[in-house]
């Protein structure tokens, strides 16, 4: 049967194939490389991912027409592609951040698990069959559980891994139950035939909505939106910082890619208004709760965890703006806004976590109070944190500003002005706690202020790339927007 395979569909899964290949290479090097050389596995992984990124951009781009491939298991389209590139970029940066972290950067397993998880995300982003989708989600999650608990001797890390596993397993079970009901009601596992199947089965609206809610539990966990957010602060706090950064960016973006595809493909049109009302409510709760709880945090990773919950809320505004199902323009703009927002958010949040990791490596602390006088100890690192936090707060000329404007614009356009107002009010709370951190960094003095905070080369490289990225997304936003728009268009 393999003789009948069209080479173009192999090309379509080129990133996945190369990721697997890279994982094998890393494994082999891990076995045969001298112990002292193990740090170089980071360069190998990062270089390999960079190569995959460039090569995929060059040859694996989807055409203008989306197509179902591999027996309808995957959909080769721009939405999936844009997200895949984002995940690979996130993994690249994460491996650079991890290289110089003790007990992390010298372990081949770390890079292997990172690559496996990235592979799972790639499958998630393009899966068009609920079985494939489930496999993708599990392939993503299981390595992440281990990564979160990677510091075996550190209680907090172990706790983080275990907590993440328990929450993940629970929500995943609920989601799987939802999947099985969907199959039972519609008689198909094909995402794009699901809606037709549900309609043909003449399922009462309440029942199909209930089933979809079960599925939403799984997605909500992935994007850490209220009320499925409880794991996030503890896991972020305990997990190795580069892993926490990866969880809050790539993993969250993967959740959103699935959420958007699922919403637009699998829903019977009459269920959509209810679904968007639910999403609007979740967005409101997530923004408000995330931001309010972030106010009280003393630990910077917990603060970033709550801030990332709030950011999931902002992004959900864009998804909720897909309300008038008939009017494709409006829905498409909503999706575009979300994709753009996520691109800006992933780059920004990686920079924030990277800077936190770089500081932690030297000081061993994540307490905000210990950041006092950082601007005197490490002016460059402080500038990175300044840029990242202001971008998270939504200040121009940084990516976060444009992302927020688009998301709020999507809400206004979909006649959800109230949601936009809640969003802007929330961004003020956000600004407050980001400024508090910046105040500690720039204003407060400390007894250790003549101790410099040296930055190693991988950190410097990654952080410079990210800062340039944040500014580029915030100023030359036309190409990014067009990318996001093409991705959104592929859903309709």
């Amino acid at each position: 049967m393999f003789s009948s395979i069209d080479p173009s569909i192999v090309l379509a899964i080129l990133p996945e194939i190369l990721l697997l290949l890279l994982a094998v290479i890393v494994l082999v090097f891990d076995m045969f490389l001298d112990k002292a050389q193990h740090r170089n596995l980071g360069w190998l992984t990062a270089g390999g991912l960079g190569f995959i990124l460039v090569l995929s951009l060059a040859v694996a781009r989807p055409g203008t027409e989306s197509e179902l491939i591999w027996g309808g298991m995957l959909r080769h389209d721009w939405l999936g592609f844009v997200f895949k590139m984002l995940f690979i970029f996130g993994a690249l940066i994460t491996s650079l951040f991890a290289m110089d972290v003790r007990d992390l950067g010298h372990r081949g397993e770390f890079y292997l698990l990172l690559l496996a998880s990235t592979l799972g995300m790639n499958i998630m982003a393009s899966a068009s069959n609920i079985i494939m989708l489930y496999i993708g989600i599990e392939t993503t999650s299981i390595p992440l559980y281990i990564l979160a608990g990677f510091f075996k001797t550190d209680d907090k890390s172990t706790e983080a891994g275990f907590k993440y596993l328990l929450f993940g397993a629970l929500t995943s079970t609920v989601m799987l139950y939802g999947f099985s009901l969907l199959y039972g009601f519609s008689g198909t596992t094909d995402l794009y035939a699901l809606a037709q199947g549900l309609i043909a089965g003449e399922l009462p609206l309440a029942l199909s909505l209930g089933t979809l809610m079960l599925v939403l539990v799984g997605f909500g966990f992935k994007v850490s939106v209220v009320p499925f957010h409880f794991w996030a602060p503890d896991v972020y706090e305990g997990a190795p910082t580069p892993v926490a950064g990866f969880l809050s960016t790539a993993s969250k973006a993967a959740g959103f890619s699935v959420l958007m595809r699922f919403l637009l493909a699998a829903f019977p049109p009459d269920a959509v208004p209810y679904w968007t009302a639910i999403l609007a409510a979740l967005a409101t709760a997530s923004m408000t709760l995330g931001n309010s709880l972030a106010l009280a945090q003393k630990n910077i990773k917990r603060l970033l965890a709550y801030s990332s919950i709030a950011h999931a809320g902002y992004a959900l505004i864009g998804v909720a703006a897909v309300s008038q199902f008939g009017i494709t323009d409006v829905s498409r703009f909503g999706i575009t806004a979300v994709v753009f927002y996520l691109v800006a958010y992933v780059i920004t949040n990686l920079a924030a976590f990277g800077a936190v990791a770089a500081f932690w490596r030297i000081s061993g602390s994540d307490e905000i109070a210990d950041y006092a006088a950082l601007s005197r100890r490490a002016p460059g690192l402080s500038l990175v944190l300044l840029v990242a936090f202001l971008s998270l707060a939504g200040m121009p000329p940084l990516g976060g500003f444009v992302g927020k404007v688009f998301v709020f614009a999507a809400a206004v356009r979909a006649n959800l002005v109230w949601l936009a107002i809640i969003g802007v009010l929330n961004s003020i709370i956000g600004l407050y706690y980001y400024l508090i951190v910046l105040k500690v960094i720039y204003l407060y003095r400390s007894e250790e202020e003549d101790k410099p905070v040296p930055i190693t080369r991988p950190y410097a490289l990654a952080l410079v790339v990210l800062v340039i990225g944040i500014i580029l997304v915030g100023t030359a936003f036309a190409p990014w927007f067009n990318w996001a728009d093409t991705a959104a268009a592929s859903l309709f």
Partner: protein, 490 residues
């Protein structure tokens, strides 16, 4: 293609700021010289813009337009009219004198100038923006460096509180206005953020009435409108001297200007509907601000509240929606900007020597710093609206416009001049004349030559505009024409 002078003005400060960040922090003199050079270039260019504006032709000039995001109709579109050209000049002058006066800053001057210049780019950008998205973009760039500038280099007692209060107030205002801007964008159906196109969008009456307060108040917060003026005196007082100058001199104009450009010009029907009660708020600004200034004992708070009062006059001029009022408001923005920069510079100089701003503890400073005293007196005369100074050219038309609008408001507002005279006289008498207190004898020195240059420049501008108003009034008049055409040429 014509020479892109406006873009050069907008981006010179931020590029200079980035370059300054690359200079090693301990080479302070090089940092200062680089900052001064950049500020000088920006000032020269802004003067060029001001004097090359062709009043007879009117409209928007020196226009540049490039695509930014064509799909959504976002473009980089800049140009000046008769109202914004003086403000560009104002920014250039305040930036240059601000750098001169900040020469003595010793704590991380590199970061100080870098942040100050990012702020300047935002300010220039707003004044020349003709695209709504661009306006918001630059507006927020102008807001956030303020937080760092005040909280790092400000007055130790209140800086953290004041910086946070100011930033949150301004940010709330701008995001509320942003929602209004987005509403305009979508309901116009023109798929463009270009303000010149949105002027002709013919928004329905109910739309304009609903959204006008969002947009107008969102921006007017930064213009210090009552009851949202509260952040401003605290901010002025906590800020270091150059930042106070920038803040009161330029930043508050930014709010008033954006309220005019986006609120009044894009939603004229909304303006006509709401102005009758908004004018009462501005009346409170003018009179109440002056009274509060009168009872302050802190030198800097006096000036801070006087800014609230004078900015009230600007917004009041807008609210009349007639030719005289608008012309006066346009000139007042410039005149008050220069004047208040002068005032804050003087306050800073006195404080640097005396280490106190309590008016009862000061006295006799005219003897040790005569130039400073003369400069303050000139500023004071401007502030009272004395003929022969720019304040008269600005305030007289505003009161004329008010009279045409509603005589009793003009009568009440004129009271503020008397109060202003009383607190200015009190400061001149108590701070600059009388006995120099014992503890200052021998400690208090005259200001540096650079400071004198800055004060001289500011004073001369105030006198030139006062004595020879033709240098500014026809320009503003043509700008006002540009506004009034949206009101049926009234």
């Amino acid at each position: 293609m014509q020479f892109p002078i406006l873009s050069i003005i907008v981006f010179t400060p931020i590029l200079a700021g980035m370059l300054i960040l690359l200079i090693p922090g301990e080479r302070r003199d090089e940092i200062r010289v680089a900052a001064l050079a950049a500020a000088f270039i920006a000032m020269l260019l802004s003067a060029w813009v001001y004097f090359s504006y062709d009043t007879a032709a009117g409209g928007y000039q020196l226009v540049e337009q490039y695509d930014w995001l064509p799909v959504l109709g976002i473009s980089y579109h800049v140009g000046v009219d008769g109202i914004s050209a003086p403000l560009v000049l104002l920014t250039g002058v305040v930036m240059f004198t601000g750098v001169l006066i900040s020469w003595g800053i010793d704590d991380r001057p590199r970061e100080f100038f870098a942040f100050l210049f990012i702020l300047a780019t935002g300010v220039f950008g707003v004044f020349v923006a003709l695209d709504l998205f661009g306006l918001f973009f630059f507006y927020e760039i102008a807001v956030f460096p303020m937080f760092l500038l005040i909280s790092i280099w400000g007055w130790k007692v209140t800086r953290e509180y004041a910086a946070m209060k100011l930033t949150l107030y301004l940010f709330i205002g701008s995001v509320i206005a942003l929602v209004g801007g987005l509403a305009m964008y979508f309901s116009s159906g023109l798929n463009t953020f270009d303000m010149l196109a949105l002027e002709n969008a013919n928004f329905s009456e109910s739309f304009q009435r609903f959204w006008f307060p969002f947009v107008f108040f969102g921006f007017a917060v930064l213009g210090g409108i009552f009851p949202f003026h509260n952040w401003s005196p605290d901010g002025h007082v906590a800020a270091p001297t150059a930042v106070s100058m920038f803040h009161a001199g330029v930043l508050m104009k930014l709010g008033a200007f954006a309220a005019l450009r986006v609120g009044i010009m894009l939603l004229p029907e909304g303006a006509r509907f709401h102005m009758p009660w908004i004018i009462l708020l501005t009346l409170v600004n003018v009179v109440y601000g002056a009274f509060i200034a009168m009872v302050q004992t802190d030198f800097k708070y006096v000036i801070g509240f006087s800014s609230v009062s004078h900015m009230g006059l600007v917004l009041m001029g807008f609210a009349t929606l007639n030719r005289e009022g608008l012309i006066g408001a346009g000139v007042q923005m410039f005149s008050h900007g220069i004047m208040t920069a002068l005032f804050f510079a003087v306050v800073g100089m006195v404080y640097d020597q005396a280490h106190t701003r309590e008016i009862p503890k000061l006295g006799g400073f005219a003897r040790v710093m005569p130039v400073t005293a003369v400069a303050f007196i000139i500023g004071g005369l401007v502030s009272m609206g004395m003929p022969g100074f720019s304040g008269f050219i600005a305030e007289f038309p505003i009161f004329m416009g008010l009279w045409r609008y509603q005589p009793w408001i003009a009568i009440v507002a004129v009271v503020s001049i008397v109060i202003t005279a009383s607190y200015i006289m009190r400061i001149i008498g108590r701070v600059f004349f009388g006995q120099l207190p014992e503890e200052f004898v021998g400690h208090v020195k005259d200001v540096t030559a650079l400071d004198k240059v800055a004060l001289g420049m500011l004073s001369i501008i105030l006198i030139v505009v006062g004595v020879y108003p033709t240098v500014m009034v026809p320009l503003v008049q043509s700008g006002v024409q540009n506004v009034l055409r949206l009101f049926g040429g009234a």
